[in-house]
Every structure is written in structure tokens, then in C-alpha cells.
């Protein structure tokens, strides 16, 4: 008998019922809700005359549609206004706790969950959003679900699921100065591909993970979905416990002591079975940048844009050719020569305080290049914004010519007014570089906050290590 993996432990602790065909009814501890994927689920409840099973498990926040400016005025876009009003209406009629748009606790759902202690180790956490994988950094089993499943969880507190296969990715070595969690995860996706994790839950382990802050670990788990995995998880250690301690929803007093003892067991046993194990040495890792329209199209910043003619797989070469056309790039051109129009620092991947600090170090005492049309800094939550202002980061950014905005998803997906125009090129700390993701015809280069800041100063993609 081999030992249990973290995934096994989290799964086993939540099985309500096991069917003959191995489908399990899995109990959900925390249900996070936002305005885009929830309205039809609430309506489904109403039509069926059902009540939510356990409203205390639900926490709602508007984030995808909210404007990042002029929050004191009525929202201009009527569709966004309606979706926010529907969230209000649904939460108040069903008695669900919700942070209002202008509440200091409002922010991107995947940022505020951990920040509030609403996401805790050992929990099962779902949200109608694929980047729910973020919360796995706290040793929680967290994954995104569709609208029917949102309704299912609201009505039953459970989901019918089959266990996935499990993979462990060991990241060994020490990160060089100027290289961050974002570079790590981009390198992982470049290595295993966007389908590399399909059908798996990925546990990230190794010395590089142990040395990362919880914020950095969230960046890694956030993009597990870009590697094809529905969930990414990381075992508990001292840093996890320190992070969770004292947050508004975190256990207190005796509960805290008991929780701490329980959570300490949330690591994979030494002899746990994994269906697949991958080891990546990260000692020589350089800052990474995506050049194409898929998160696996990533190279080191000092590399050249790859040549499809060198690619052995025909279908991959075809994808690369299309990406080059869409991105307006030529094979063989230096990544550092790519001129950008806009900078976006934000999203559930990189909008936490540590991300803003890393960008501010680069920006301090410098100016955005004159050719940059917009440098957007969008903190992940109101509390992060407040903390950054306390540290004077807002001033550093504003002095350099960046805009300092209100929290939300913003230009990660451009559901509000923050978008790329056709043909515009953006250095972005978000997670998806799909065609049109940040605005129709917009071109996205994924990179770390420090790299995005450096690109803004230089006016083109550049190696942040030259700015430190």
C-alpha cells in the first residue's frame, strides 16, 4: 500500500457517497460567486422552487464587469449595470453574503477569497470561473465549474465528480534575481504544453515552491488551468499557516489550534502514488515572455521569436504560423525588439501586493516611455490598493505616468471599458493570450509584473534584470 497524496487526502475527506461506477458525490465547503456565471443558476433555483442548501458557504463579489474608474457614478455600460444589479438582487433575495462594488473588501474573486480567509487549507472550493485553481496554493481542492454546476452546488452543496489522475511537478533550484513565480509557471506551461495537465490534478512541489511566498504560489496554481489541469495544489507548510492566521474568516482561538494541527497533515506522504512525476531544474531560468496566442508559446526574454519551419509537428507549425500572423511578428526577430503600446499590471494571476511591489521597484525614479499609450495598474482588491497606497506605491506609479485604478478583472478580459484596440500590443501580467482576449484584434504578451513594468519604461519588451 502506498501512502496518500495531498489530492487523495482532500478528495477522501469530502466523499459523501460513492456510486458503483466510481462517480462520487463530493461535498463543497466554499462557493465563490461572481456576476457573470451566476444569474442563470439563481434563476434555475427559482424556477425549480429550490432554496440554496447552505448560504453561509457562499461569498459573492462583482469583479468581471466593474469599471475601474468613477466608481461613485452610475455604471455607464447598461449590460454591466444589469449584471451587477442581478447579483445584488439574487444575493439579497437568497440571503447570500456579498461585498459591494465600493466595499474596501471588493476585488477579483480569486484574490479576495484567500485574502479574507474565506479560502482555507483542506477545503473544497468552487467558483463559476476556471481560475479557481488559484486557491489550491493554500492546500485546498479548488476548481472552476459551469453554470449548471453552480446551480447544483447552490442547491445541494455537492457535485457529482470522478477523480482525476494526479501529477506532481517538482521545481528544484533557486530563482535568480529578477525571476519570479510567473516566469516559473510560464516555463512549466512551455515545457508540458497547454494540454499537458489535461485530466490531471497537478501538485507543485520542490525547493523552488517551498521558497515561494503564498502570493507566488497562487500565481503558479492560478495558471495550472493554462496547462490543462482543472486544479493545482500545494502542500501546507509554515508559510501557509502564517498566511492564513488572523484573517477575517479564519478560525480563531481553540478552533485555530485544532485547525493548525489538522492542516499540518495536508501534504503528500513520502510514498504517495502519482500517475506522473515531472522534474524541472530552475536554477538557470531567465525571465519568460509569451510571443504567440497560446500560453505555451513562451520563450526566454533574450531569445528570438521561434521559427515554425523548425517545428517538426505539422499541426504545431501551422498554429505557430497563425500566431505569428495574428501577433504581427516575424520568426527570428529578437523578443527584446518587440515594441509595445500598453502595459497592464493586474488580474488574478498578478495583482497582489507583492506583485505591485515588484513592479514599483522597477518603476521607481523612472518614466513610462513616451510611446506607451496606457500603463494600467489594477490592484486585485480594495485592501491591496489601500496597502499599496500606505506604502506609497501609487505615487511611484503615478509619478512615472501609470494610471492607478480601482480593483477588478479589468483588461484581463476587457468586459468593462479597459480594452486593447485592434492591433495594439500589450505587456500583460494576466494569464491568457488568446486572440481577442484583451479586446478584438489586441495582442497580448504574458510576463511577470517586474517585466511588464520594465517593458513600460523601455517602450519595448526588455530584460528586467537590466533595471535592478
Amino acid at each position: 500500500m502506498s501512502g496518500l497524496s495531498l489530492y487523495d487526502k482532500l478528495w477522501n475527506a469530502h466523499v459523501v457517497h460513492r456510486q458503483k461506477d466510481a462517480t462520487c458525490l463530493i461535498y463543497i465547503d466554499r462557493h465563490l460567486v461572481h456576476e457573470v456565471t451566476s444569474p442563470q443558476a439563481f434563476e434555475g433555483l427559482r424556477l425549480a422552487g429550490r432554496e440554496p442548501w447552505r448560504t453561509a458557504s457562499v461569498l459573492a463579489v462583482p469583479d468581471h464587469n466593474v469599471p475601474t474608474t468613477k466608481r461613485d457614478q452610475e455604471i455607464e455600460d447598461p449590460v454591466s449595470r444589469k449584471q451587477l444589479a442581478a447579483l445584488d438582487e439574487n444575493c439579497s433575495s437568497f440571503g447570500v453574503q456579498k461585498f459591494e462594488m465600493n466595499d474596501i473588501r471588493q476585488g477579483i474573486v480569486h484574490v479576495i477569497g484567500p485574502e479574507q480567509g474565506a479560502s482555507l487549507p483542506g477545503m473544497t472550493i468552487v467558483c463559476g470561473d476556471s481560475h479557481t485553481s488559484t486557491h489550491g496554493a493554500l492546500a485546498a481542492l479548488a476548481f472552476g465549474i459551469g453554470t449548471s454546476e453552480v446551480e447544483h452546488v447552490l442547491a445541494t452543496q455537492c457535485l457529482l465528480l470522478k477523480k482525476t489522475k494526479s501529477m506532481r511537478i517538482d521545481l528544484e533550484g533557486e530563482l535568480q534575481v529578477g525571476v519570479s513565480a510567473k516566469d516559473l509557471v510560464l516555463a512549466v506551461i512551455a515545457e508540458i504544453g497547454t494540454a499537458g495537465g489535461t485530466g490531471y490534478t497537478i501538485e507543485f512541489a520542490g525547493s523552488a515552491i517551498r521558497n515561494l511566498s503564498i502570493e507566488g504560489r497562487m500565481t503558479i496554481c492560478n495558471m495550472a488551468i493554462e496547462a490543462g489541469a482543472r486544479a493545482g495544489i500545494i502542500g501546507v507548510d509554515e508559510r501557509t499557516l502564517d498566511y492564513v492566521a488572523g484573517r477575517p474568516f479564519s478560525p480563531k482561538g481553540d478552533d485555530w489550534e485544532q485547525a493548525k494541527a489538522d492542516w499540518s497533515k495536508l501534504v503528500s506522504d513520502a510514498d504517495a502514488h502519482f500517475d506522473k512525476v515531472i522534474r524541472i531544474d530552475i536554477n538557470a531560468l531567465k525571465p519568460q515572455v509569451s510571443w504567440g496566442t497560446s500560453p505555451e508559446m513562451v520563450v526566454a526574454v533574450d531569445a528570438l521569436v521561434p521559427d515554425p519551419e523548425q517545428e517538426s509537428s505539422d499541426s504545431k507549425a501551422e498554429g505557430m504560423r497563425n500566431a505569428l500572423i495574428y501577433m504581427g511578428l516575424k520568426a527570428g526577430q529578437a523578443v527584446k525588439d518587440i515594441v509595445i503600446d500598453k502595459v497592464f499590471i493586474g488580474s488574478c494571476t498578478n495583482s497582489r501586493i507583492e506583485d505591485l511591489r515588484a513592479a514599483a521597484i522597477v518603476v521607481q525614479g523612472r518614466q513610462l516611455a513616451g510611446t506607451i499609450k496606457l500603463g494600467l495598474i489594477v490592484p486585485g482588491s480594495g485592501l491591496i490598493k489601500q496597502q499599496a497606497e500606505k506604502e506609497g506605491l501609487d505615487k511611484i506609479f503615478l509619478d512615472a505616468g501609470f494610471e492607478w485604478r480601482e480593483p477588478g478583472c479589468s483588461m484581463c478580459l476587457g468586459m468593462n471599458a479597459d480594452q486593447l484596440e485592434a492591433g495594439e500590443r500589450c505587456a500583460s501580467t494576466s494569464n491568457r493570450n488568446f486572440e481577442g482576449r484583451q479586446g478584438q484584434g489586441g495582442r497580448t504578451h504574458l510576463l511577470s509584473p517586474a517585466m511588464a513594468a520594465a517593458a513600460g519604461i523601455a517602450g519595448h519588451l526588455t530584460d528586467v534584470r537590466d533595471y535592478l
Binding site: 458525490l25 434555475g44 444589469k82 449548471s148 445541494t156 485544532q258 489538522d262
Partner: protein
């Protein structure tokens, strides 16, 4: 969910391959916050000559006389007859909601897109895969005579035409059980309500902090 046992109805033939979810319900309606009310916008681009907007009444919009949905003789059909790869495109459930709201209960096609196929079951619609030759036969009959109808018997997994069995079809056991009994997945899960409550009671004991806000 409405149970599905037997259904006798005329057919609504949509004679194109690769009917995608954007055609079934165009993008602008995805912004809707409702799950019902999509019926008047089913196949909106093909059905109307003028452009439609969410929340706009479709009364008075100019109908496309060429499109079969606007042919009175097919108005009451509850079974869609489709070509291959029916329902391809996005994963959003709006496409299924639109059929449901329009009054469709079953779909016959030589093949369906995966996610659309499974979304149908989640919403009480029965998608049936039939041999291309049989689909051809039904297209010819239905286009010639709008009264052409079939009966679907889910229990015996047969399709009957003119009183005679015409074809058998496959359906997943569990999904069949759900449809026959009008159980949606929520309904199934709620059968385990006692087990869920027992789980909660045990968890409340072992991890009381998870219940401190209840």
C-alpha cells in the same frame, strides 16, 4: 425537470451541417442574465431580416420567409431534425436553453458536438444519434410533407414511424434513468440529502471552524 418518456411530434428540419451554438443563439444574447426567454431569439440571424438586441421584443421584427422556422406548417414541431456535428461551438448552455424555451423536446442528427450533447441531458432534452441514411430519409419526408411525424419511446429506445418501428437508438443508462424519471442531477443528488446532512454533522464536529458563519 420535465420527465421524458414518449414523444410524438412532427419534425423541424434544419438542413445544414455544423449548426453552431452562435447560430442557435447569437452572441449578443449571452449577455442576458436569464435562462428562459431565449425562444424568440432561437436562430435569430437566420430567422429575422433585421438585427436583434437583447431585451428587444421580437414582435414586429421582419421575418425571413426563406427560413423554415417561419413556415407556419412547422410551427408546432417539438423534434429538431439536424445534420452532422449539430451544436458545435462554445460550451455555454444558452443554446440548449433556447431550444427548450422554444418548445423543442428532442433532436435527431447523425452526430452532435460533445458539450452540446451533454448540456441537452442536463436540461431535459433528448438528443438522438441516427444513421445518416435514416436522417436523409426523414429529411426527404419532412421537407415534402410537414405533417411527417415520429414517435420516440425512451424506455424501449425505439423510434416509430407510421405505427412501425423505424430504428433503435443508444442512450447512456444513467442519463436515461434521469430523463425517464424527470430527475435532473440536482434531483438525483437531493435523494442523498440525508447523507449530505450526515456528512455535515460529522464535519461540523471534526472541523467546527467551517461552520462558524452558519
Amino acid at each position: 425537470m420535465q420527465a421524458f418518456t414518449t414523444l410524438s411530434s412532427s419534425l423541424l428540419p434544419i438542413d445544414r451541417p455544423n449548426v453552431d451554438t452562435d447560430a442557435i443563439i447569437p452572441k449578443q444574447y449571452l449577455k442576458s442574465i436569464r435562462r428562459s426567454g431565449f425562444g424568440p431569439n432561437l436562430f435569430d440571424d437566420w430567422r429575422y431580416l433585421d438585427a436583434g438586441e437583447p431585451d428587444q421584443s421580437c414582435e414586429g421584427r421582419r421575418l425571413n420567409p426563406e427560413f423554415i422556422l417561419n413556415d407556419e406548417r412547422y410551427r408546432n414541431a417539438e423534434i429538431i431534425l439536424g445534420r452532422e456535428n449539430f451544436g458545435c461551438g462554445s460550451s455555454r448552455e444558452h443554446a440548449v436553453w433556447a431550444f427548450q424555451d422554444y418548445g423543442v423536446r428532442a433532436l435527431l442528427a447523425p452526430s452532435f458536438a460533445d458539450i452540446f450533447f451533454s448540456n441537452c441531458f442536463k436540461n431535459g432534452l433528448l438528443p438522438i444519434i441516427l444513421e445518416p441514411a435514416l436522417i436523409d430519409e426523414l429529411f426527404i419526408a419532412s421537407l415534402a410533407d410537414a405533417e411527417t411525424s415520429v414517435s420516440i419511446d425512451l424506455e424501449s429506445q425505439t423510434i416509430i414511424r407510421d405505427g412501425k418501428p423505424m430504428a433503435d437508438f443508444e442512450v447512456d443508462e444513467f442519463k436515461k434513468h434521469c430523463l425517464l424519471n424527470g430527475l435532473d442531477e440536482i434531483g438525483i443528488t437531493l435523494k442523498y440529502a440525508e447523507k449530505i446532512k450526515a456528512f455535515e454533522a460529522a464535519q461540523k464536529n471534526s472541523a467546527p471552524w467551517l461552520y462558524s458563519n452558519d
